[in-house]
Symmetry: none
Subunit: 192 residues, 4 copies
DNA sequence: GAGTAACCGAGACGGTACGTCCTGTCTTGGA
DNA sequence: TCCAAGACAGGACGTACCGTCTCGGTTACTC
């Protein structure tokens, strides 16, 4: 009761909106999450919606990101190679699944809708990046990975290829492909 | 892939459209390349435009792709590391430049507009992929790279991270960053 | 028939549209009353226009009908023959004038555009028919006309020929011709 | 052989066009008789079609008029009242039938398409008017009708009301209604 | 019987209007 | 005071049809 907003209705409205948006995203992807549709399903008026978010992509990013937050677990198999390989496998499976399409749509929409980018980053990328950073730090502590490479760079190296494939659809995101990518990145492309 | 009509007018119309689209893309990015705007500037009617392309994104992909085709040269520095590093540097510079934004918009639009994907692939990705494949083959012949890794996978590994950054904007695409990525991928993420 | 919206803006928009449409009809007839043109001149968006009317012909019918409502007066010369003759003369003069062409275009358009028919009837024909019915009743009361003939039939008999001529243009609509028609209808075609 | 065009192909083309147009009119009314549709079905190119007719309405008028030419017989019941009543009944039945709608569409289209009017008059109205003129002359000879009224005026008086109803749809065109109109016109509207 | 000219099918094209859709702002009246 | 309800301007979409034009092959007259 203490920490809630002075206007509890705001909170209820936000929740309704996010909930309705999630449903719409599940049913028809980002194109279905029209502001009008969100308003109609949530019972929250458009004016109120635009008081809380700058554009519809932002709503979708927050709604989808919050829901996905716990979807991908942090593995701990005892060594960096297995952990990172596992993580790449998880993420690629997520991308390949039905929600991968929504993720791609959101990512794409943020290019057009700059106002939504912070939301996408906050509710989506940051969580993932934090997870990897944690994995990476563990691996660093164990001396398993190259200390000259930042977690940032490692994240890009491991997940960039997956996102590339997801967006262009030039190749499938099967577990085998995911393994090829993670092993290539981990061991390096050069001949030893 | 494109059928050449028996009527030479077709060719003139297509050229006008592509030319106008390129101009519009330069001036205002993908959002400016409205079908109406393309029609108005090219003098080609909308009906005709829609006879040649399935949607506006396809036009933009073809126009932009054709123009970019020769923009990125194939380096030949005598060894794989330098060649691939150079290529990554070129591509990231391109992405970081003004046309990188248009590229990102196109890539994003293809997610929404599946009909445009083939055009984007044909006029954009394939050229790049072919270039890398050629570099990769040269490196393979010299025994400089891991023969267990396909050119496909290598391409994803090297350019996926750049595209990831371009789209999410979570980090700059400076030459230094590009070098970090290429070196990380080339040498591998693991400690040696 | 028209629901008045709780939002007064609706009324303003409708007024603007009808006003702009009337102007366009005067300037270039029905072909000039494009939905785009109406939208541009009235400052009302196409979407809003299509919320109020089913098709452009309906707008034109309402606009033109409302304006014409009071254009033709109800004569009262003391006897049926003079009243009806006068009315036919008025109407034929109206048809022969510049607005007759618009009337014909509207009537014709309603054939193609069934959705517009109710509008044309409500805002155009009904007013005329009511006027004749009133005249006819007066004449009936005075015993001047055949009580076996309904006002409906009389209206058709008196104005049908004018409309026939207006549409096919097979003969002029001069006052003399109007008199010939009204006298023929009134006295009957048969020899006495 | 002597009087045929120097290029018999023209004749075949005209025939094909008229035939195809008639079919289309039967199937979907005037809206279905698109120039493209006529061209496709007849196998005659659009360029050739436009060599023979000024606009599509003209084609439809000629096609439909030729086909309808003999559809309405000239009655001869021995006296004017019966002949004219019968004729009005026939015509109203025709208007009320499926082809009446096409007739109305054609009549309406000629308002918009002035170039088609001569075709409509030649292939449609003239035949009807000639029939009535012949009936009227016979009645005049027998002294059955008012010699001060021209066949022209009589035609307008008798058929104008039917066309008025056909176009506006404000009342049905049942045989009973047709009889009411013809008797009203024939006997006059005034009380005797 | 070959040459030549008119003609024709096929259909691409510019133009114009259509009616739909969605966004983000703004207004109103009720809670 | 705050909000749902939803009207609204703006602007792009993709479609349809018109009447014109261009092309290359065919036909039917001419020599």
């Amino acid at each position: 009761m203490l920490e809630q907003s002075s206007h509890p209705r705001s909170l209820k409205a936000k929740d309704s909106v996010l909930c309705a948006t999630t449903e719409l995203l599940m049913e028809g992807g980002l194109p279905a999450a029209t502001v009008d549709a969100i308003s109609a399903r949530s019972g929250v008026s458009k004016a109120t919606i635009y008081k809380h978010w700058p554009c519809r992509t932002a709503i979708a990013a927050e709604a989808f990101g919050k829901q996905m937050a716990a979807a991908i677990p942090l593995p701990d198999k005892g060594n960096a190679v297995d952990d990172l390989t596992e993580q790449v496998r998880w993420v690629s499976a997520f991308y390949a699944g039905p929600q991968g399409a929504v993720f791609a749509q959101l990512l794409a929409a943020c290019v057009t809708d700059p106002a939504a980018s912070p939301y996408f980053r906050e509710y989506f990328l940051d969580a993932r990046r934090a997870a990897i950073t944690s994995l990476w730090q563990r691996a660093l502590d164990r001396g398993e990975v190259d200390p000259a490479i930042s977690a940032e760079t490692a994240t890009d190296a491991l997940f960039g290829p997956l996102i590339f494939r997801l967006l262009t659809g030039h190749a499938a995101l099967t577990p085998e492909e995911a393994d090829k990518i993670s092993s290539a990145c981990l061991r390096g492309l050069l001949a030893s």
